[in-house]
């Protein structure tokens, strides 16, 4: 055989074309899914409104069914209903009292609330075929374990439970949402989430915007099927990402604002999408509160990163914007949250020349005495614990363990067992570059000591109960666990990417003793049969 017949020169143009047919297929076809991934929804694009064409609305405020000297009583039904997120398009939803988001509960520090949650959901999810048990978590409230929405304290359809909230915390923006074990993501995606606001004397004394100038912004993202139903795809438990951004359940709405300051209470209620928010005109704004309430002093920033379940309260001054101008709150996006055509749009503010109430239009340089969590110092910590967030063999784990391990251990295994009043440092590591984890620690407010050895972001310099643990990041958290006369028992800690939480990145810690009075499953179990009077 001659060398010529074996040389590369023997490969002529035709030969290259022969290989090219397979080559182009192998190189091009795997990309088509990526290149066509600018939208997820299957519904006709004509039925999705253009961004900023839908008027803004806030969730309704829930009135108590009864009040007495110490307590306000509320009743909420969890129901399946058909609503309209897209104008003119019927969408099957699950909601609290038939509202998505659910109605807002307003509470006063020191005055107790009892919220009866009645599970009137169908016996079986119509499509996923699971039993929709629910467990309502009031996120941000230091509740007793049996009222904390423990995974395992599940109310089946037809059952009801009275949740008792002491409201012994500082003024803050909380939210209540479903925490039913292994189905939290589906249930919240269907609509089981709402705001709960606690105010106190410190906050009320401040000249911050209030009334119509104190506005909730509950962010979420969804996708729609051809027939208008919500489209669910959790991408092998990595997360659910929609191509329609909602604010208070409305797609990319427009809010008319006067030329004054507004307080916006931002909650990221998305299943898996993080947001990096800024104003379209680059205007700075002030962060005045975080998950656990008011910061000691406002932080002036031009953007904030908001992971799932994080709350930030910001004040935006529209006085410098001319009437008739429009300013958008836009999403610059975060790593590992796929962006679609309109993922960068959130809400529009249309500045008007309308008359406005000029009172309570100030952000003081000092907002509140340092929150107890922010008054802690690292030197006060008696223990440092390390927590690895990782995916292992297809499972989302914390230090290699899952919530199934807790279940298999009859709910006995705990990650930590601090005594009431103990101060600890938790060092949380996410060594992956492929995903981020907003870690939520129940019961406590904590201080973010550092992020990758550096000071936390300006917006994080307030009390927190969720921390954004980004790709290849390590954050150090400082916290005190209750007090000798405060709540004790078992509480969950988990990733607030709800798909990660469900599959199964969740564990628990125990403050002090676990006894029958604080057993999260048996101390105050849901009840069946006719309801007793509230």
């Amino acid at each position: 055989m001659s060398n010529t017949s074996r040389s590369a020169l023997a490969l002529d143009r035709r030969d290259l074309l022969k290989v090219g047919l397979l080559g182009t297929a192998a190189l091009a076809l795997p990309w088509q899914g990526v290149l066509s991934a600018k939208s997820v929804s299957r519904i006709s694009s004509g039925r999705i409104p253009r961004p900023y064409t839908v008027p803004f609305a806030s969730p309704p405020v829930l009135a108590p069914v009864r009040r007495d000297a110490t307590t306000d009583y509320y009743r909420i039904e969890q129901t399946a209903f058909t609503g309209q997120i897209l104008p003119g398009v019927n969408t099957p939803l699950w909601g609290y009292n038939g509202s998505v988001p659910g109605p807002t509960i307003k509470a006063q520090r020191g005055r107790r609330t009892v919220v009866r949650q009645v599970n009137k959901l169908p016996a079986v999810h119509p499509t996923l075929r699971y039993t929709p048990w629910t467990s309502t978590h009031l996120h941000g409230m230091p509740s007793e374990p049996q009222y904390d929405g423990y995974a395992g304290d599940n109310s089946l359809p037809g059952q009801w439970k009275d949740y008792v909230y002491p409201n012994a915390c500082e003024a803050r923006t909380l939210w209540y949402h479903d925490h039913g074990v292994h189905h939290t993501a589906e249930n919240v995606y269907m609509g089981l989430a709402g705001l709960y606001l606690v105010s106190d004397a410190v906050e009320s004394a401040l000249p911050l915007p209030r009334g119509p100038y104190d506005v909730p912004l509950v962010l979420s993202d969804v996708a729609f099927a051809e027939n208008g139903s919500l489209l669910w795809e959790d991408n092998s438990h990595s997360g659910v990402y929609g191509d329609v951004n909602l604010v208070n359940g409305r797609p990319w709405p427009t809010l008319r604002v006067a030329r004054r300051r507004y307080r916006f209470r931002i909650l990221n209620a998305s299943i898996a999408r993080g947001y990096r928010l800024r104003l379209s005109n680059g205007q700075p704004f002030q962060v005045i509160a975080t998950d656990g309430g008011l910061m000691a002093a406002p932080q002036t920033v031009t953007q904030i990163t908001v992971g799932m379940a994080e709350r930030y309260e910001i004040v935006v001054d529209f006085a410098t914007v001319a009437a008739g101008q429009r300013v958008q709150l836009v999403n610059l996006g975060v790593a590992n949250a796929p962006d679609y055509d309109h993922s960068g749009k959130v809400v529009q503010f249309e500045v008007t020349g309308d008359a406005f109430d000029p009172s309570n239009n100030t952000v003081p340089a000092t907002l509140a005495p340092p929150h107890p969590a922010m008054a802690l110092t690292a030197a006060m910590a008696t223990t440092t614990r390390r927590m690895r967030l990782e995916r292992s063999n297809g499972l989302w784990t914390i230090n290699g363990k899952t919530w199934d391990d807790v279940e298999d251990g009859d709910y006995e295994p705990v990650f930590a067992n601090p005594a009431p009043g103990d101060v600890e440092i938790w060092e949380v590591e996410n060594s992956s570059g492929g995903w981020f984890h907003p870690l939520h620690i129940h019961l406590v407010d904590f201080q973010v000591l550092s992020r990758n050895g550096r000071p936390p972001r300006p917006e994080e310099r307030g009390p927190k109960d969720v921390v954004y643990v980004g790709e290849n990041e390590t954050v150090r958290l400082l916290m005190r666990f209750s007090s000798p006369d405060g709540p004790h028992g078992r509480y969950m800690v988990h990733c607030h990417n709800l798909s990660h939480e469900d599959h199964d990145m969740m564990t628990q810690f125990q403050v002090g003793e676990h006894d029958a009075d604080c057993d999260p499953i048996n101390a105050a179990p849901p009840r069946s049969g006719p309801e007793t009077p509230l």
Binding site: R6, G33, A37, T127, A223, L231
Partner: protein, 189 residues
């Protein structure tokens, strides 16, 4: 498809002299092996089977590269390299255009609650009827790897005797045509 490729394996024992083309085949195969190590790292979360596959592939490619560069690369060996590499390309295509490999990547199919955990796992959208949708990651590493493997395949094919080479390339042509037909038919997508 594979039958057409298999026919090209020539008689064993023909040793190929060191030439730039042979070195190119060795280099491309070695680089592909290195890229499969990177793929193993990228798929750490997908389970031991997947990671093991990538590492085994990497090991085989690095070994083949060494043999191409230093050993007595026979026609039979070249044919094996071509066949194996084309097989990898086909596997990659199948993995990215169908859900056949999803079970190995941790994609579950049961849309029901089950066991004491009550997990729900789906591969498609729910609430009401709709087709599954994916939010895929850009297959940058895969694209680079396939490009390198195609170069290696070309180089290895060029070293084959003329008849065998023609059979190989005709087989690849048929395979490419079939892939595009399957794509047009909606089987791949």
């Amino acid at each position: 498809m594979s039958a057409a490729v298999e026919q090209v394996v020539p008689a064993a024992g023909v040793r190929h002299p060191a030439t730039p083309v042979r070195w190119a085949a060795a280099a491309a195969t070695a680089v592909a092996g290195g890229l499969h190590v990177a793929a193993a790292v990228q798929h750490l979360g997908a389970g031991d089977l997947v990671v093991g596959f990538f590492l085994a592939t990497a090991l085989a490619q690095v070994g083949a590269a060494a043999w191409l560069a230093l050993g007595p690369a026979t026609d039979r060996f070249l044919g094996t390299v071509v066949l194996g590499t084309v097989g990898l390309v086909v596997l990659y295509l199948g993995g990215h255009t169908t859900d056949l490999l999803d079970p190995f990547l941790g994609h579950d199919h049961a849309a029901v609650a089950g066991g004491h955990t009550g997990h729900t796992a789906t591969t498609g959208p729910v609430a009401l009827d709709a087709e599954p949708t994916e939010v895929p990651e850009p297959p940058v590493l895969g694209t680079v790897t396939v490009a390198v493997e195609l170069l290696g395949t070309l180089a290895a094919a060029a070293l084959l005797p003329a008849r065998a080479r023609r059979l190989v390339l005709d087989g690849l042509l048929a395979l490419g045509a079939l892939v595009w037909l399957l794509w047009l038919a909606g089987v791949l997508g």
